[in-house]
């Protein structure tokens, strides 16, 4: 069964979309070409995590996925998380904690945290490290990012909001 070599269709931030593409195009290139520039091009080789998006609720590197691999999948980018006017709970904590310096790594960090909050029911340090181990920051030394994330996760645990990722969507 040959795939149409010119298009790929997937759900992007809740909307079913079809894009022109080529077999060799990376998902990251497609997203940025289509205006989803919150997903950053960092290393381009699956190391830094700046291009992290969710595919079927799992964190993946968009630079190591061919766009065709997203066919029929559910893709979510940082644009689905919050806005300048209505930042998500984690985005607010990152700002208030002074955790954003150059900011290039932050979209990827938030998407990995999103995957964590969607999948897990408890947030001990080991599991948090596991979900965040594929995101590098070269400005902050991680401490403030960690502290901001820890605050959100601790509140979620206290409130019994588990495995829903609800805190990332201020509207919901």
């Amino acid at each position: 069964m040959k795939q149409n070599p010119n298009t790929v269709s997937f759900t992007l931030n809740g909307e079913l979309k079809t894009f022109a593409t080529e077999p060799n195009e990376k998902l990251l290139a497609l997203l940025r070409r289509e205006g989803y520039k919150g997903t950053k091009y960092g290393c381009g080789q699956g190391t830094c995590g700046a291009c992290t998006v969710l595919m079927d609720d799992r964190a993946v590197y968009a630079c190591l996925l061919y766009a065709m691999q997203a066919e029929g999948r559910d893709i979510r980018t940082i644009e689905s998380i919050g806005t300048f006017d209505k930042p998500s709970e984690l985005q607010q904590e990152l700002i208030q904690g002074g955790a954003v310096q150059c900011g290039f790594c932050i979209p990827g960090m938030i998407m990995s945290a999103e995957a964590l909050m969607k999948a897990e029911t408890t947030f001990d340090d080991d599991i948090v490290r596991e979900y965040m181990d594929g995101n590098l920051c070269r400005c902050t030394g991680y401490e403030k990012i960690w502290a901001a994330l820890r605050k959100v996760l601790d509140r979620q645990e206290s409130a019994g909001v588990q495995g829903s990722g609800a805190s990332s969507h201020p509207e919901s």
């Binding site: 964190a59 065709m68 594929g134």
Partner: protein, 281 residues
């Protein structure tokens, strides 16, 4: 690797037909992460096998049967009594890579630093390959040379059968890295079968600091029939120098690599023995 076409076959036979027809121009795509790093820019057609029902973990009697396109993250998260595969999968690369990278992708084309071949050699796993019918290959045969050669004719790895560890069996793996997500400096895996206080059988394998993953027969021979004790483990680990051409890299001398391997073998054996005596699940 440059993809010029993308095929999504509807069945395993169709995928094999596609690959046979394409010959050298065809490339199996599962997770696909390795394709991004291949320096050969010859245009190829990707044959996507991720939607053929090959992603599963099933407990089938004496084996755990793991589908070839099962992501490493699924193997890491799977839990069952005396399941041992999760520990090494947690140590492979990053969370994002483990969500995409597959079991098959790690063992169909073996790189010197690959961890899973080491574990599967120690576990005495069996690889199931589809060539019109399914045939099983023991790890010793499968990893004797570069497995990629087996798949040039369009055959497809469908699953890996990992023996379920019995009550008197134990398994331990050690991966030494500079940073959490980096490739291994050395990987060691050991499986012990105990008979009371003594070792009835042993399989020990190594990778990363040698050209290709392999078992360590001198180490194994120094264990069988002897007490499962630290002094015996140390003596056996000291035989590693005779079993493989340990090589230096990234600032390590060959002697340092060998020493690192010996220390890691000791740790892996201690872990395997603890497991065999009754690991806390």
């Amino acid at each position: 690797m440059k993809l010029c076409e993308f095929i999504r076959p509807a069945s395993l036979p169709a995928a094999r037909d596609n690959l046979r027809e394409l010959g050298a121009k065809g490339m199996i795509l599962a997770g696909g992460t390795a394709l991004h790093f291949m320096q050969d820019h010859t245009p190829v057609t990707a044959v996507d096998i991720t939607r053929l029902g090959l992603s599963f973990i099933k407990h089938e009697g004496a084996f755990y049967n793991i589908g070839a396109t099962t992501p490493l993250a699924d193997i890491q998260r799977y839990r069952a009594p005396r399941w041992a595969m999760h520990e090494i999968c947690r140590r492979i690369s990053t969370h994002q890579i483990r969500n995409i990278s597959t079991l098959g992708g790690n063992i169909c084309r073996v790189f010197p630093w690959a961890d899973l071949p080491v574990v599967l050699l120690a576990m005495d796993a069996r690889m199931v390959i589809y060539s019109g019918k399914e045939t099983e290959f023991p790890a010793d045969e499968y990893f004797k040379t570069q497995p990629a050669k087996r798949f040039l004719g369009g055959d497809i790895l469908t699953s890996v059968k990992v023996p379920a560890l019995q009550a008197h069996h134990g398994f331990g793996s050690i991966k030494v890295v500079r940073t959490e997500a980096s490739f291994a400096m050395v990987t060691i895996a050991a499986r012990l079968e105990l008979d009371g206080a003594n070792i009835k059988s042993a399989r020990v394998a190594a990778g990363s600091a040698i050209p290709f993953p392999r078992r360590l027969p001198s180490v194994e021979a120094a264990l069988v029939g002897r007490e499962a004790a630290t002094a015996v483990f140390q003596e056996a680990a000291g035989k590693a120098g005779a079993d493989a051409p340990w090589r230096g890299r990234e600032g390590m001398s060959p002697d340092y690599s060998r020493h690192l391997a010996e220390v890691s073998i000791l740790d892996a054996l201690e872990r395997a023995a603890t497991f065999a005596r009754g690991r806390a699940e």
